[in-house]
């Protein structure tokens, strides 16, 4: 029950901020942080719960963005429909990728997911309808009441998506699906011996993960008023979506949220004050530091801190 109250408060807070007099740039930057909450949470479903490190976040994100563009260009579809369609298409891509690669273990799976990124990017580069390598300018439709600007509306939309993503992740985590995924992470062979339907569970996780990443990507074209392949399929999305759960903690749904908000906010502040490059350096350095020194992330550190405080009493 507490969880649902928390989610409702989050949405209310987001809407309240959007209707207030806060500086426009806050929403421009906040959108990106919320987008990473969705991406990190989606990544964690396969990467954290099941232990399959997916480097292909950028592929699902990019295909989500391009699906939204196609619907917008062909039919002037409203944002909600774009997001829904993007989730479906990226979910299908996730399912397909899973079928192709989930029989591979460890690093082979991860490298295969990188391959999916480049193949999808090449496909979009060669499709003139969505602009090819040149890209496309997009004029936003007029913003609906009561929002003052389109960016604010996107901010609230992304907040709602974040709430949906976290709810789905939490459901998976506490249900039998989560137990099965954890069994796969601990020892896939043992799980299979016990009759856990490993392939089906992995496919499910891959599909849901891909769908959420696609939904996050769908809002991007309207946010930028522009789309082009290299930035839509940038490996930076893959690294960030991987770093944030690793930093926050991969075993609980709160981990990716903490990681995304922490790292995302630092990134946005650094971009505005210093430069764009340092922001990517921050991701890389923090990833390496946490992976080496704090493998259970911030949540793990907090747990250790609580245990240490309790035992020293």
């Amino acid at each position: 029950m507490k969880f649902w109250i928390g989610m409702a408060v989050t949405v209310a807070l987001a809407a309240g901020l959007a209707l207030s007099r806060t500086n426009e740039y806050f929403f421009y930057a906040g959108f990106v942080v919320l987008q990473f909450v969705v991406l990190a949470t989606a990544w964690n479903i396969l990467g954290g719960y099941a232990g399959y490190v997916n480097f292909g976040t950028a592929a699902f994100f990019g295909i989500g963005a391009y699906t939204a563009v196609v619907l917008f260009k062909a039919a002037g579809a409203p944002l909600a429909l774009q997001i829904l369609a993007a989730a479906v298409i990226s979910g299908l891509l996730g399912f397909g990728t899973g079928l192709l690669t989930l029989r591979l273990r460890g690093i082979f799976f991860s490298i295969a997911t990188v391959a999916v990124i480049f193949i999808m990017e090449t496909a979009m580069v060669n499709w003139r309808y969505v602009g090819g390598a040149t890209g496309m300018q997009l004029l936003r439709p007029p913003v609906m009441e009561p929002f003052e600007s389109y960016t604010r509306m996107l901010f609230v939309t992304m907040a709602i998506l974040a709430v949906i993503a976290v709810s789905i992740a939490r459901y998976i985590e506490v249900s039998w699906i989560g137990r099965g995924l954890r069994a796969i992470r601990d020892s896939e062979e043992a799980a299979e011996c016990f009759g856990v339907p490993t392939l089906q569970l992995k496919l499910f996780a891959c599909t849901v993960s891909g769908a959420l990443m696609g939904a996050a990507g769908a809002a991007m074209p309207m946010y930028m008023s522009f789309i082009e392949p290299p930035s839509s399929f940038s490996l930076t999305y893959s690294v960030s979506a991987l770093a944030m759960p690793m930093i926050g903690g991969t075993s609980h749904w709160l981990g990716p949220v903490i990681g995304a908000i922490l790292l995302g906010s630092v990134q946005q502040i650094v971009t505005v004050t210093i430069s764009n490059e340092i922001n990517v350096l921050v991701v890389g350095v923090l990833l390496v530091v946490f992976v080496v020194a704090a493998p259970d992330g911030v949540l793990g550190l907090l747990k250790k801190l609580r245990w240490w405080l309790r035992s020293s009493r």
């Binding site: 740039y25 580069v125 300018q137 522009f226 505005v272």
Partner: protein, 408 residues
């Protein structure tokens, strides 16, 4: 009495403070990446204008401040940069990034926020969005203005077939599409056409294919990194004896660092430009001399032929418009810009309803007798021979291309 003077004192200091708030002009301009070579020179020219206008008292009695960020020639960065300029830095006026590719993404943004944008050497970047507050400083207008010189020169020496290679990006595609239509209308036959992704570095396969197709002319639409790679590839493996004219729309062969590093490989190429020595405009010689001094200090392109005069002109245009309308109101300024002509160091500038030049004139030059590793040689007349337009013409083309190149 003391109370009144206290209030008056407050009022005067408030006015003084308001008056001392600078006029902020914002720009995202490439300092690194493929366009960086040109962007650095352009920014220096803009900074020169800011110094000049501040020495005269600024705009509307206020100091002018230029806020510039490096967009790295990457179109994905410009929406973020311009949003930051508008919402965090709160600038009063915007100048567009240098080049079509970084400018394209922000056209919807400025249109939907109703903002004036001073264009900076883009090509047809406004043709889909159709923003009515866009004013481009470049000497070209549509594809005809750019390509007719090249095609006419070719047809005058008997060319009948043409090959096109163009990068898959906004500038090159705009230019190539326009050029292909004009070529068809002129009765030329296209024997080869190829688009390539902007990040392509190896052109040997394309040059080989062109050689096999045996065209009379090759029209290239490329950005600096690819232009350099194409020139090197052509010099490495040759393009065949049939080619009379090679070049046309190669950005970057006007940047001094590129010209210096390519040296004699440039010989024979027929390409567009905006200003070369020999073209007379009031005030330009004086500008170039002052620029050369500042460029030496800043260790930037010392010649300043291509972009700097036109960037200085943007400043001059803004100066005159703001002084005439006595305001920084975007709509007022736009209306004034549409209805007047402005005198600049690159001649008189006025625009058509689409925001492009009303009277475009694109020089086509041919590189001749260029030696390696020599920057100052380009100040001499005769290294970049003007073939078109007639009012500036200084020579006839040397053909075929392989002979003009001195190649194998």
């Amino acid at each position: 009495m003391r109370f009144v003077s206290f209030i008056l004192g407050l009022a005067f200091s408030a006015v003084a403070l308001a008056q001392s708030a600078p006029v902020k002009i914002g720009i995202g301009i490439a300092q690194t990446g493929t366009l960086g070579g040109g962007g650095k020179a352009a920014l220096l020219a803009l900074q020169m204008w800011v110094e000049d206008v501040n020495a005269k008292g600024g705009l509307l009695g206020r100091k002018v401040e230029l806020l510039a960020y490096d967009d790295q020639s990457n179109p994905a960065t410009t929406p973020g940069i311009y949003t930051k300029l508008l919402d965090v830095d709160k600038v009063d006026l915007l100048i567009a990034p240098y080049g079509t590719v970084p400018t394209a993404p922000i056209m919807p943004l400025v249109k939907q926020r109703g903002l004036l944008l001073m264009g900076n050497f883009s090509f047809q970047v406004n043709h889909t969005v159709k923003h009515d507050m866009w004013f481009n400083n470049a000497p070209w207008g549509d594809a005809t203005s750019w390509t007719e010189g090249f095609l006419r020169i070719g047809q005058n020496i008997g060319a009948q077939t043409i090959a096109f290679i163009a990068a898959d990006q906004e500038f090159a595609q705009n230019l190539a599409n326009g050029a292909k239509e004009i070529a068809k209308k002129s009765g030329l036959k296209t024997v080869y056409e190829q688009n390539y992704p902007p990040a392509t570095v190896d052109f040997s396969a394309m040059i080989r294919a062109i050689r096999a197709a045996k065209p009379d002319m090759v029209f290239v639409c490329s950005y600096p990194n690819d232009s350099v790679a194409i020139v090197r590839a052509v010099n490495e493996i040759g393009v065949g004896p049939t080619v009379k004219l090679f070049g046309g729309g190669m950005v970057g062969l006007q940047f001094t660092p590129v010209m210096e590093s390519l040296g004699s490989s440039l010989n024979g190429i027929v390409n567009y430009h905006s200003y070369v020595p020999g073209m007379k405009y009031p005030g330009i010689e004086d500008f170039l001399q002052r620029y050369a001094k500042k460029a030496a200090e800043a260790k930037v392109d010392p010649l300043g032929f291509y972009l700097p005069p036109f960037n200085y002109a943007i400043g001059q245009i803004l100066e005159q418009a703001v002084a005439a309308t006595k305001s920084l109101d975007q709509k007022l300024l736009a209306r004034h810009l549409h209805s007047h002509e402005f005198n600049t160091i690159v001649g008189p500038i006025s625009w058509g309803p689409d925001g492009e030049r009303a009277r475009p004139a694109v020089p086509m030059i041919q590189f001749r007798n260029v030696a390696d590793k020599n920057v100052e040689q380009f100040r001499q007349i005769g290294k970049q021979v003007i073939l078109h337009p007639p009012q500036f013409k200084s020579g006839d083309p040397v053909v075929p291309y392989e002979k003009a190149r001195g190649g194998n």
